[in-house]
Symmetry: C2
Amino acid sequence: MQLDEAKEKFIQTWGALGSNWGINRTMAQVHALLLVSPGSLSADEIMEALNISRGNANMNLRALIDWGLVTKEHKSGERRDFFYAEKDIWQVAQQVIIERRKRELKPVLKVLEELREVEGQATNPEARAFAESVQNLHSIVAQADKFLEIAVTAERNWFFESLFKMFNRKLQS
Amino acid sequence: MQLDEAKEKFIQTWGALGSNWGINRTMAQVHALLLVSPGSLSADEIMEALNISRGNANMNLRALIDWGLVTKEHKSGERRDFFYAEKDIWQVAQQVIIERRKRELKPVLKVLEELREVEGQATNPEARAFAESVQNLHSIVAQADKFLEIAVTAERNWFFESLFKMFNRKLQS
DNA sequence: CCGAACTTTCAGTAAATTTTGAAGGTAAGC
DNA sequence: GCTTACCTTCAAAATTTACTGAAAGTTCGG
């Protein structure tokens, strides 16, 4: 496979993955393009490479900057802005986890905590079932949140080593 | 807060969460409704509770069944179908992980493996950068996939205990 | 077999999301 | 302080996705 073909495929795949995960296709494609470009690119280069309008490029770049995945760069002697993506995928993953925890997990936890205060008579089976669902869900979400917090705090090597050990113990048993 | 109000809020929150994670809002709401209902519900009850059409209810129920989150039940002496949701959230989480691994992670891994076979001259910095990105990404995705496989294979207690130990060691250091 | 009770499908429509392009803004260089 | 090269915004258009409702299909009791 040739390099250009491979890049194209990479961009398409990343775009498809993104759109399954609530990130819009174009945003993911811009990110993919920057990931596989060794240097930084101007807005025009991105527009041309992906066949999108200036406005679209601008908005998606802004969103990527907002997520902390892309940085705007001022080259001296250049009037244009240039953009480059964080290349260390572990950093990228951490950044995404930080954002999604903040934007999605925290609000859900908050609601679930409120819902635990339902006036629940232990006599009413409907109320009992509800309280139990809420409680269980809260417990899983809270544990997932905790896990992700550790993943974000941790050093990459420490983290994967620990998982690896965990896996090995599993295999022995 | 009263029970009905709480249920309503739960359904809304679950729906919002779902739509951030590639599950459509209505599907998530149907799931939430079934989760907080102690018994099983008929299509008509679901339609009425969520104000959706028969067709919509049917399609989303089918999708939920497809994901293994909801089961259709034949009550003897009843001609209608009834539906209930798996209430053990850990089971639900495992089911979701199984499906998403199959539907999304595996295809991405496949593409990344193909892309490692790019005709890469180590001399070309563009090809080098590309190969490195692909390699790193593959490594992270593969590790995540492995981790999720463990989560799915594991007993709930074993799994959380291991994570708990991992956290504690982290906290001491 | 027939009809009633219910379920499924799907073409058309509605709603939500994404994209465009042009107008307006900004700042550097002359 | 004007021009040029670029960036940003946003209303309207295009596209994608979800929903409806009526028609076709299925199943069961009689």
